[in-house]
Symmetry: C2
Subunit: 443 residues, 2 copies
């Protein structure tokens, strides 16, 4: 009988193995994709690309026993030879090839030069050819940073006693309701795609006290801006037994601190490649919504047009204000007006026209919305009634309050937006693998 | 200016802190939900529930300065008092309350006794009242195990050089096509919900060599069985530079080994509570599809009705056969017939009526489908043509092959099914937080 006993360790080395210097002076076989070929006449440099980076392989005319023309960009090969130190090679190491085995061949040349340092395309062409464009090492590095953010979120929260949950994306009803829902037919019944796991994560606070989810959310918003997507990854958490909504901001600050340390430690190569300076998250200023509005109106001579909401320009100015005043990359803006927050937001008992809620701005862009929620059944029913809302389809959500819920709150972070600000892009599509917007449903 | 500087550490202890014995003989304040109250006359035991378990708090009539009747099941409280060792209490520790602060009160009593060891409801009632039923400590423990599985999957794959990706769930076209797609309107264009991240993870192999995703998938199948869901969490990976599809099985075996160790170490309390014996994954037998079919037909005197597919009963018998023959909990069944596998499956060059693919059976239930994929552009086009399929909408998928792809393969694991088998349930709804099936769209 044949058995599988675990991961197969291979004879071929990884590029990262070579870059440690462990093979220098000896022989190695490595595999990878031909990123580019630079033919210098007597020698040619064949640059192999793998996930860990690039490796310079040297072809010497008359010595290397195969035809250089067989080595096309995009081919997957296994190259064998002697490893030597070479200061001018990427990573300071090169492999002098004496054998090449072709693993797979492309049918056509690349549509554009993915091997250039900066991808020579417009964003439109990049997105139209996304899976090819991402082979550019700087393009893909953004998504390694994105991995680090999600990993930081989860690992930090595991350590703080949170349980990970998986909640359904198809449902009969959604937390915020309204016009921004994608609708579908579910076995002859009307259904929607969830625009947030809000109801579910609150329900699960009654089970695990602290829960999180990292999953897609769907918003049928007709915005066509640089910061909106119709499908994005939401990093959500919800926690019980809080003393106030400050506990939520404190937990988010802890997450940011943890994640910046993780990125600095495990993603240094990508940070370097993208020339990223990590933001300061050691202390994050915290300002009331109405105060922040006044501050930027005064400092930047700006009229307050809508006292109930922040315009994107105002958010940007708040970011600028706190950068100038105290060098802050992040700002918590608190106490948003009740009329602009969903029904489940906890009103401030001192002034119920405001809520115990916050947004986190990163360089002037909202990347998080959070706050304390109502936990008392009757208070929740009263607020639903006061808003003239129906409770149809909300029976299960309401039942958890009927049977007792601790004081709690939580937040949702837009992963692609946070990544965008971190890597210094200004269009959220740059940090979305396959964006979905008003016009883009493919690839 | 006010600043948030990181996680707020609280004065209240956690139940897990008390159970270490660190507080024994001293005072502590803890918060939690009143799981149940057992009134014994002179004393009452108030059992607090939090994520880490249960704590016995003692109320002494005439001594404890508050009314026992105020402590309702489902209330959230903070209790303070002296901590003592008590062999008969859960965890061997109790807290003699001398103060209680009510954090939140329920409006109505529980609909059923969530505090019972075994939840006293049918599965239907459980699912209709899901968020309440999950407050039962054994019910919720299943989802801690589920967390451990996902965590094991990710942590193992990070360690093996995989990059995590987030691919869109709304699309113009899906990998398998066909009738099993949920359809929706996307800004006046027809769209579908992805039934698998197959196309995307293959495209990303050209970028990161090794990728994984843990995300929902959607299948509009009209199956109404104990093992089917219409939305579930799929653990997917895809890896390049493989020598054969055995590398995929080896990686999955590595994942299972890693995860069983993780569960044994970090989820021992839940394993214990659910009386789970972890399966053996040190070596997993591997048998050809046609051989396995013949083996069970012979041993169990069963006629082979369909030579191209495995009936659920046959899968169960294969599980039984390998349990009996070599004590195996898992079996890899390989070389499925080409006509039953999708177009992108790599046919066996030795006999193209079979594919280089596999299923993993766990106690006779399929929990994984995987295999090697076609990486050659022309071979892929030929197979698409031979099946009479259209390439409309597949241009981006096909482009990655046109421009070069390494030999690769991957798999998808149904998280809820794997959890179901691991915790010994026989209906996949038992291990799904909020199941979606033919009749269930709520809660």
């Amino acid at each position: 009988m044949e058995f599988i006993t675990g991961v197969n360790r291979k004879q071929t080395a990884e590029i990262s193995d070579l870059l440690t210097g462990a093979y220098t002076g000896g022989r190695a076989a490595v595999n990878g994709c031909i990123h580019t070929v630079r033919d210098m006449g007597e020698v040619a440099f064949v640059i192999l690309r793998k996930r860990e980076g690039l490796l310079q392989c040297v072809f010497e005319k008359g010595k290397t026993p195969f035809n250089l023309r067989d080595l096309k960009e995009g081919a997957a090969v296994e190259a064998e030879g002697v490893v030597s130190a070479e200061a001018r090679a990427p990573g300071g190491i090169e492999l002098r090839m004496d054998a090449v085995r072709l693993l797979s061949e492309p049918a056509e040349p690349m549509p554009f030069a993915v091997s250039k340092w900066k991808l020579p395309t417009t964003l439109e062409t990049n997105l139209d050819n996304r899976a090819i464009a991402l082979r550019n090492v700087r393009e893909r590095a953004k998504f390694r940073i994105q991995e680090g953010i999600v990993r930081g979120f989860r690992d930090f929260l595991y350590g703080e006693g949170f349980t990970e949950i998986h909640t359904p994306k198809i449902g009969a009803k959604s937390a915020e309701g309204g016009a921004n829902l994608f609708r579908l037919e579910y076995f002859h019944r009307p259904a929607v795609l969830q625009q947030s796991p809000q109801f579910y994560k609150q329900m699960m606070v009654g089970v695990f006290d602290r829960v999180f989810e990292t999953a897609p959310v769907f918003r049928a918003e007709k915005h066509n801006t640089k910061r909106h997507l119709n499908e994005y990854t939401s990093l959500d958490f919800e926690m019980g037994y809080i003393d106030g909504f400050e506990d939520i901001m404190a937990m988010e600050t802890g997450f940011l601190q943890y994640t910046m340390r993780l990125l600095a430690r495990d993603y240094a190569k990508e940070l370097n490649m993208l020339n990223i300076t990590l933001p300061a998250a050691d202390k994050i200023p915290c300002v009331r919504f109405d105060t922040a509005k006044r501050q930027v109106a005064e400092k930047y001579k700006r009229e307050i047009r809508n006292p109930y909401d922040l315009e994107p320009e105002e958010e940007a100015l708040i970011g600028q204000y706190y950068k100038e005043e105290c060098g802050a990359d992040f700002v918590f803006v608190t106490h948003y007006p009740s009329k602009k927050r969903p029904f489940y937001a906890m009103d401030d008992p001192k002034d119920p026209t405001y809520t115990l809620s916050f947004d986190l701005l990163y360089h002037g862009l909202e990347i998080t919305t959070g706050g304390q929620r109502i936990h008392d059944y009757r208070m929740l029913l009263d607020k639903i009634a006061a808003r003239g809302m129906e409770t149809d389809g909300m029976e299960q959500y309401l039942a958890v309050f009927k049977h007792g819920m601790p004081p709690h709150g939580g937040l949702g972070i837009g992963l692609e937006r946070l990544t965008m600000k971190l890597v210094g892009e200004d269009n959220v599509r740059e940090t979305t693998l396959f964006p979905r917007d008003l016009s883009r449903l493919e690839p």
